[in-house]
Symmetry: C2
Subunit: 182 residues, 2 copies
DNA sequence: CCCGGATGAGACAGTTTCGTCTCAGCGGGT
DNA sequence: ACCCGCTGAGACGAAACTGTCTCATCCGGG
């Protein structure tokens, strides 16, 4: 009965984003396994974080692939991405908050993700869909921030999980202000 | 030549939001002082974090006061708040990310802040300024997320500091989509 | 010029956490 | 029914961090 590596990583991400000082013991307990077992699967804390980063990047890139960012209106592409990234939102939040300790390889993956999302926003701006007074870099960072904020709110029970795609995409796209027309 | 307590706390916040596992030695070095001096001003790590929380809450509430949230259009009030909270953005980001380990007194302060911002969004919704399909609780969390994201981007040099109020308020209010009219 | 207060560097013991190990228990597959 | 592999619990030394201390230095005020 092999331990569910994926489950361990996800609960670790959920715990560590909110309490980065958590002990290996805490992480193990949060995943419902023993500390010894945790060490059997991840050589140490460093290896655990690396696995977390690798999984987060992998899943985010997979979500980018599934969202087909180059197809159709940029707004629709963004909605597809938000929906596709939902399962990885916790991991992504971890990556965003802890990105001070990135090694080179993680940095490379992160830059790939950044570039693809920025390109989407740029495409939207050039196509006249998105406003041009907010730079793509900021829109990208804001997207990360909103994904993280929504993931945390859901984790803490302040929002319903099923609202994730709507809340995140709607706020990023339309903002809080009531649309002028409509 | 007393150590600049405020400067120490701000650099500590900047460091700890991005690497919560940072050592007291790291914190001291980030502030440009010795570890012994850091301990002279803050009895220990716990005391440092408490001071950080207290300052963050105090400054955020002061910003809320200055913004006069109840005056005039909700949109303008929000812009005033974003502008007023800018100096405390780093502290606020720390509070948001680390709010798992809040003690009761910090929780109380945080709840006060939450209530005031949520009330602003509710007022805007009831006045027809803000859309009603996004709950005030989410708008509040999103605001925190955007403030944190913008503060980090500026810290890392990806955005210019002077754009903080515009970027943050514009995205939250208007979103990325190009306004239908105008 | 001298002095007092504050600082940085480093030593020190105490504590926490880490990583490894052993051992007994459990469960699935044969 | 019997292994074999995986697991949890706990012990253990090693390492890292913490908090306190001492001491030399620096700086400004008197």
């Amino acid at each position: 009965m092999a331990v569910d590596r994926d489950h361990v990583l996800r609960s670790a991400a959920a715990l560590l984003t909110r309490r980065a000082s958590a002990t290996m013991d805490d992480v193990a307990r949060a995943a419902g396994i023993g500390r010894a077992t945790l060490h059997r699967h991840f050589a140490g804390r460093e290896a655990l974080v690396k696995a977390l980063e690798a999984l987060g990047i992998q899943e985010t890139e997979a979500a980018l692939d599934r969202a087909r960012l180059d197809d159709g209106p940029a707004e629709d592409a963004l909605r597809r991405f938000v929906a596709a990234v939902e399962p990885a939102a916790g991991l992504l939040a971890f990556l965003v908050t802890e990105n001070q300790l990135f090694e080179d390889d993680v940095h490379a993956g992160w830059n790939r993700i950044d570039a693809r999302i920025s390109a989407l926003f740029r495409r939207g701006q050039e196509g006249g869909e998105f406003r041009i007074d907010l730079p793509p870099a900021w829109l990208t960072e804001a997207l990360y921030g909103l994904i993280g904020a929504c993931a945390w709110s859901i984790q803490d029970g302040r929002l319903a999980a099923r609202d994730f795609p709507y809340m995140t995409a709607e706020l990023l796209l339309g903002g809080a202000r009531r649309s002028v027309s409509t």
